[in-house]
Symmetry: C2
Subunit: 613 residues, 2 copies
């Protein structure tokens, strides 16, 4: 039954040989890798506006300059990442770049930052997708978090547990449909602004008060929030191996195309927000208001809301392509538990997929699906990993000295410096809004990575067989074994257990713990009548404890009869027919097993006794 549900939901297991890499043409790769970056125009410009439209300050007029600053940053990041794609045609993100060029600490920092940001990508994108949906259908407002969690577990997690291969072409349509919708929105919007009698940008959208320090700080925060639009730009450089030949050229071209589109859409939506002088509204996204102003509540409005929702959910999906493979690389390097490194029955990293879903769900629950609050945590990790990757590239060019290496090193150095400054800006301006959490989280995760690695190293050291030691252990004389069988009263189970015990060793002791002196004598009498050829030791336990006297007895054996290599304790276990029957048997056997296993040289054997009814 469980098996059937499992098969129905995630499909049949895949054979090792079914693993393969599809190569993608540019138009398909663009859709596959860019949904994260492009979809962020659904919340990025709005975040800038939300920060600037603060009551008591006249700062709306700075929206244009902030948007342009973000556009310039986008250009720098794009050029830098084209370099990354060129230098790492084998793919691999910031972690790989850093571990090759910068060493362990920067690499782990990048990994921790990416861990935070992939999780946030899922949480932010799912929340923003649902926000697009409930903007169009306000009756869904009370179910916001429920929708988030359903999409997360029943769509994203399941689709990814089935495997990406089945679904990669389905990615193309929503992304292009979204691009088409937004371009249409911007085109019609601009036509509208030009033909309308109203001013292109109303004076209240241009009003700005004199810049002072506190206002400057606000502008930096608006900039930092707007930078959330830039997450996902690195995706293509990590996916170079999936492009058709010539891989690097195709990947570079696709990156330019993506950034150009991102830039146009970002600036276009920012312009329209200024044109309509939008102000923050509860439960309605700015994009929804823009679309409603331009198209009215008609087909095009719903088209934009639905494609926005879809592309945002797809964006969440890109984190599922990013984090589980990263965790698997970390697991192979010993920084994460081993089982995150192995492929599941559908050839994907199923444990990583589940882990990501659970963490994202926690974030959504903690922030109740509020996009604005989640974005406060966002972007710092991305820019931190940008900075590390760019720095790694500088070291790479200095080491490799390929053609134009000086120019390339300068470009990446510039990228590293600028993204580094952005990290500082985000860390300072959003510190109290949640960035501190990420700044606490990253060092903790790095410590965890190191503790795990150190544990695996310890184990490897303890398990390693120096040459000849395998033979040495096996060449020891045949090990001797003392077998102890704790018994409650002589039953069929005891007889069968004794038979098994005698097949293991000549030295078998039956041990009875008597909580009552009279009962103890009765068992002893019975024993001598039956005479099973096995010595019975009776220990009187006046405090009615059962487990402790057995442990004490074993300890005595260990001390006084040290000529045995092993002491084996055989514990019969009842296998009941119905699950609730287990409640009717005391768990002494289980407790005994758990405590005995903590001793060295004591082996615990469980002999099952199957009840027939």
């Amino acid at each position: 039954m469980m098996r059937f549900i499992r098969r129905f939901l995630i499909g049949r297991p895949l054979h090792n040989q079914e693993m393969g890499h599809e190569k993608l043409p540019k138009w398909q790769a663009l859709a596959t890798f860019s949904s994260d970056a492009l979809s962020s125009v659904a919340y990025g410009p709005e975040q800038v506006m939300l920060t600037l439209a603060i009551p008591g300050l006249i700062a709306y007029g700075y929206l244009g300059p902030v948007a342009i600053a973000i556009l310039i940053l986008l250009a720098v990041v794009t050029i830098s990442y084209v370099q990354v794609a060129r230098a790492n045609p084998g793919g691999g993100g910031s972690y790989s770049v850093a571990i090759q060029n910068l060493g362990e600490l920067p690499a782990l920092t990048a990994a921790a930052a990416l861990f935070a940001d992939y999780t946030l990508t899922v949480a932010v994108s799912v929340s923003a997708g649902t926000a697009a949906l409930i903007s169009a259908f306000p009756e869904l407002i009370p179910y916001e978090v429920h929708i988030d969690l359903c999409v997360l577990f029943f769509v994203l997690m399941l689709v990814n547990l089935r495997g990406v291969k089945d679904s990669s072409t389905t990615f193309v349509y929503p992304t292009y449909a979204f691009i088409l919708g937004i371009i249409a929105l911007i085109g019609v919007g601009i036509y509208h602004t030009l033909t309308n009698s109203a001013p292109v940008i109303p004076p209240e959208s241009l009003a700005k008060q004199q810049l002072d320090w506190s206002l400057f700080f606000l502008l930096l925060r608006a900039f930092a929030n707007g930078c959330s639009s830039m997450t996902g730009v690195e995706a293509i450089s990590n996916g170079v191996p999936m492009f058709k030949e010539p891989q690097v050229r195709n990947a570079s071209l696709t990156t330019y195309w993506m950034s150009a589109m991102l830039g146009i859409m970002f600036i276009g939506i920012s312009f329209l927000i200024m044109h309509f002088h939008l102000l923050p509204l509860e439960n309605v996204t700015a994009l929804s208001v823009v679309a409603e102003n331009i198209f009215g509540r008609g087909f095009m409005y719903y088209y934009i809301q639905v494609t926005t929702m879809l592309v945002l959910y797809l964006a969440a999906n890109t984190a599922y392509n990013g984090l589980p493979p990263l965790l698997s690389i970390l697991a192979k390097d010993g920084y994460m538990p081993r089982y995150l490194g192995t492929r599941g029955e559908r050839l994907n990293f199923s444990n990583g997929i589940i882990l990501l879903s659970v963490f994202a769900a926690l974030l959504i629950l903690i922030y109740q699906g509020n996009t604005e609050h989640l974005i406060s945590l966002y972007a710092i990790g991305v820019f931190l990993s940008f900075t590390i990757a760019q720095s790694g590239m500088v070291v790479h060019w200095l080491k490799e000295k390929e053609r134009w290496w000086q120019a390339r090193a300068v470009l990446n150095g510039l990228g590293a410096i600028i993204t580094g400054i952005v990290v500082l800006i985000i860390a300072v301006t959003k510190f109290f809004y949640g960035a501190w959490m990420v700044m606490v989280f990253i060092p903790i995760v790095i410590m965890i990575f190191r503790a795990i690695r150190s544990h695996y190293n310890d184990i490897a050291e303890q398990l390693s067989l120096s040459t000849g030691s395998f033979e040495k252990i096996l060449a020891l004389p045949r090990a001797t074994n003392m077998v102890v069988v704790p018994i409650a009263s002589p039953t069929r189970v005891v007889a069968e257990t004794l038979r098994y015990a005698r097949s293991l060793s000549e030295n078998v002791i039956a041990l009875h713990i008597a909580t009552d002196e009279e009962e103890g004598r009765r068992i002893e009498d019975k024993w001598s009548t039956w005479n099973p050829g096995v010595e019975l030791v009776t220990v009187y336990s006046p405090y009615r404890l059962v487990v402790q006297p057995v442990l004490d007895f074993i300890s005595e054996l260990e001390i006084h009869k040290c000529n045995y290599d092993y002491i084996t304790v055989i514990i019969p276990e009842f296998e009941t027919k119905k699950w609730w029957h287990i409640l009717l048997h005391n768990q002494t056997g289980w407790i005994l097993r758990t405590l005995l296993i903590l001793r060295e040289n004591v082996v615990v054997t469980t002999i099952p006794y199957h009840l027939k009814k």
Copy 2:
């Protein structure tokens, strides 16, 4: 550390020889056994008033007649229970009487009813005790349920886990202090009513409208709620062995004394409620209002509130003396899990004490400590067990034919009929107020009793050794054993496990599940280099499953190599130094063990490997 806390909280373990029965003089026995019955005057009269003071009906005037009806019922129950004490000088409640005289079904019904009512006694008494406290200190109102749970777990459960012996004399003081306070209250109250110019009972307390069917039904419900005052009357007859000689005479006299006091207090408080024409108030008990009217908010008021609280908490304690021994008798008869039948380290039935505390806590949480709602469930179980006990006594007298047996049979028969009628009244009038739950609960519990008994019978049958079969099993030729050691890669652990395996049997197979063909070949090469003298079987698992191929391999062994008596699978288990290290190891060994143990004739041996760091 855990051990120290345990010792500090519940004391050192007690030796079997420390079990003993203190014999109690009458004055001490009265206090020990009567707190449940006497304390119920703190809520009983109020419950009658609450039911009658219903808006839209003029029924207050029936308070007096209902109180007198309850008094008469009390007399009948008292006389009946004196008979029970006489006939069962060995103690034992309704269950014992019924199983001796009436058979299994009535006995189990009584047991289920008592189970429900002991749990409710705890919940009702604790809630009512806290109600007395918060009547005096209204600032504690928001913490009502917290106080209930603290008293339940940190006072009642702990004191009872320590054992009753330590605390039995401490019971005497609060009970007598309470009796003294209530007698003083009634005395001063009556003096007050006689010397005051106000009428002894104001006309509005005597007003009653014409009796009709719906009003009659209400009166019956008031009566049913008032019957909650009578719970605990049976306590003395269960405790006869704890009285000093002449036991029966002393127990009978004590029962009369207790009932007389209960009657006086019940009627006295009912009278004062009528005199002051009290109406229902939120968060203040009627007894508190009476005390405040008579004494003002002075010393005597607080004295009455505090002693009421203490005696109610003590009343809850009587359920701890009643239910765990009953569960232990049921366990010995096979109707409850065995571990409820054994005495814990302090010689008490610790599992039963914990069970009772948990159930009572659930009731308090579900009803948020509301005494009135809890009382709706109450009393039906008590009267059901009264009826069964009285019926059992009738059968007893008919069988035994002692002196005056006819008269005694008539007395108990009358008791059975009257209490049976009360059961019907409670079941009908409180049906929708919660009695239906008890009526559903009792049959379910009876079914559980029977299912448990049937399971234990099945087991006993399967385990029993017919004469000679013990010898027959042991006389079989020495059992043969095939040992299988699943290995991941050859390490020190594998070498040591193989050494142990070879001490068990000549037939050892090492089994490697290769998820990757190349890896499998590498292990095979290593193996032949090392040549440990044990055959290595490599199974290729292209779907990367590990557990299933092992299970399949064992199944094949079972089918094809059926000349072995046992197959023993040896699984090494890492014992990690730090608890979190366990998260870093996959639990394949554990899963394998759990699934293998489900097969017959497969023995699973766990060999611990202790990591040093």
